[in-house]
Amino acid sequence: MAEALAIALRQDAPIPLDFRLEVARGETVALVGPSGAGKTTVLRCIAGLHRATEARVVCNGRVWADTAAGIDLAARDRRVGLVFQSYALFPHMTARQNVMEAMLDIGADARAGEAQRLLAQMQLEGLEDRRPAQLSGGQQQRVALARALARKPNILLLDEPFSAVDHPTRRQLHRSIEAVRALSDLPIVIVTHDIEDAARIADRLCLVIDGRMVEALDRAAFRTDPDTQLARWMAQ
């Protein structure tokens, strides 16, 4: 598989990071680890929402950040689809308007139809005109996923998508992510502290502790090898 994303990050504060990661096109990578390990900070560095002291982020051959060369592309220019842990839906807009807000580079006439298609893909038909406060947590999450995909991103980032959702919502989200994977070769990075969910949908699991990747395993190896740091961390 061709490499779609390569990152190298280093900083001492506020959260120490010394982190490298390559993600192939079509690959889903899960960053797992304890709270405060720096997983979300890695996502924010990829998205351009946080500047590490030393950073190099290359996506599809384009340099998004290179502190040595003085390159730091703004978040709005990176074309990243990010599903926030809080969903971060615009509360004064309907589900459809939220998705349309991420379609600034297509014609105004085409936006509503495209938003409708994405919401239907997330099985949200009939809820397009509801505001976030009128939707359940799982529905809000799927609107956030539709919005993240609306910009035709280079990479999809999901921050703790399985926290604070019940089992039916988790299953629904698994299906939604599987649908995204089936329809595109988008590289996906998921941050989670739930290793079971990570093992269900990710091709590769990376254990992050204190800002460092201490182990990376593909799903099969994680399933079959009981003597791994991931397995030991999971047993804690």
Partner: protein, 221 residues
Amino acid sequence: MDWQALNLSLALGGMTVLILMPIALLLGRWLAFARFRGRAVIEALVTLPLVLPPTVIGFYLLSGMGPSSPIGRAWQGLFGDGLVFTFEAVLIASVIVNLPFAVQPAQRAFEAIGQDLRDAAATCGHSSWRCLWRIELPLAWPGLLTGAVLSFAHTLGEFGVVLMVGGSIPGETRTLALSIYDRVQGFDMQGANSMALVLMAISLATVSMTFVLSQRGRRHG
């Protein structure tokens, strides 16, 4: 009823709000989101008119805009007349005195918008201006409206600073509040009472409007 003073007060209130709101929007947003050394000093300076006696502010404004001050001399050079004891001087003073009434509600309203929402707007491809227009203003408008109405109502009732900077020149700087004072000085209690009632009714109506619109904004926001 001193209609001239009422018209002057309404004009002063309206123009103060028109000049003040863009300043409050930009300053309030900057103070809400920017992190820099010395921010507390700027916040304190903005708040100062709330705690200083109007005569103190009036004294410094009078000195700062007087004929021997750089601002006063520049004004004289540009327009041929002095700045103090004019409507323009009262307007400048009014904008400065009302800064905390407009900036603080704006700042709180912007602070209430979560960082996640602004980050989400950035990942959606929004420029800073588009984020302001599409995300921040629709969420912050009740705070901005509160600031505008408070400033307007406070301007109608402002006395000390207007007297210090503008005197009480009919048709130029004599506002309704000053006219009430003059009527009381002249033992015209009935005239003072009718004007005081008008001032109170306008203030009550504008403040009530803020609450109604803010509640509506929260319901639909």
